[in-house]
Symmetry: C2
Subunit: 173 residues, 2 copies
DNA sequence: AATAATTGTTATTCACCATATCAAATACCG
DNA sequence: CGGTATTTGATATGGTGAATAACAATTATT
């Protein structure tokens, strides 16, 4: 169960490929009936999640950060000095898969591994100065573009209610 | 952007692997601070979606249907006689990837392809009798186990509000 | 001291996602 | 009508995510 990952792609391009706009004067076939599909929570959940990730990627594109990478940076900022297992587990990333992910962040000098003094098996993780700076910029982009757009669509109260229910499902379901 | 797919796996097993329960008398390290992560809608959205899919797979396991396959069957029931392109597009599945998916359903005799009389390029899709029967059973399982559990967790009103907001995001965001 | 468990890592497998390309069939257009 | 473009289902391929097994180094257990 790896959580909150997404490839850095041109989201608009992918979206266009799927929508397959009827290419102008095309034979317009009648739209399909979604039927009970529109009552399936999982279906809406997945489609909404794809849309939100797509917008996240677009908003934070200047910094080339995926949702998963952003979540790692956020977690490292709040919890410096933890090891790979702890960070990976909290995010629902399997430790083997977290290695390559960290390699990517470290090669961009956004975070650093250091051998722990107490336990020489584990690597202590922390943000670099550049990592802190990039994260700060990312936060601003996310807040001013991404989350702001969600707020605009739903309204603050609805957005809060939505977040609350999603969190509840994630925790208790 | 393929929507509503999920592998048929033992969800509980995967979940256990991630949670990594502290194996009894293990050195209990203090839990990490999620920090601003808990305010990120996309993060909760993704984690909730994984939980919901996991439960769906569990509930409908006797019939060996993934969310994606279930959505195809639902769509075929409501829209018999459509071709592969139409069904795939509506679900956000790319046509090349839809071929193998249909092969799977057809090899289990859940649906059938037939060459169209009007346009001999396209395949007209429809549920088989077995497909209708399996879908009927699946619907009952989903309603009585899966959606019922969500209703119990959130309450009917909240569940409806959640669905409404997710649909809005999926459509308008 | 011997054995078991943990940490980071590699390798590998599988599902999903996306693009390019193709042959057959159809639509379009001069 | 005939030639070109488009559409449909299909194949091949590459990329990414997710999951498991296994390993060496280190630490914990007993």
């Amino acid at each position: 169960m790896t959580v909150y990952k997404a490839a850095v792609v041109d989201a608009a391009k992918a979206s266009r490929a799927v929508r397959k706009e009827p290419a102008e004067g095309a034979l317009e076939t009648s739209p399909l009936q979604l039927g009970e599909l529109s009552e399936l929570l999982g279906y809406s959940l997945k489609r909404a999640q794809l849309k939100v990730f797509e917008d996240f990627l677009h908003c934070v594109a200047p910094l080339q950060l995926t949702p998963a990478q952003f979540s790692v940076l956020l977690l490292l900022e709040k919890n410096p000095g933890r090891n790979q297992t702890e960070i990976a587990n909290t995010l629902g990333i399997l430790r083997p898969n977290f290695v390559a992910m960290l390699d990517g962040l470290e090669s961009r000098d956004l975070c650093a591994r250091a051998r722990s003094a107490n336990d020489r098996r584990s690597h202590v993780l922390m943000l670099t100065d550049k990592g802190k700076a990039v994260l700060a910029r990312a936060k601003k982009l996310v807040a001013s573009k991404h989350e702001a757009r969600l707020n605009e669509l739903l309204g603050p109260a609805n957005r809060a209610a939505l977040l609350s229910m999603l969190t509840k499902i994630a925790r208790e379901f």
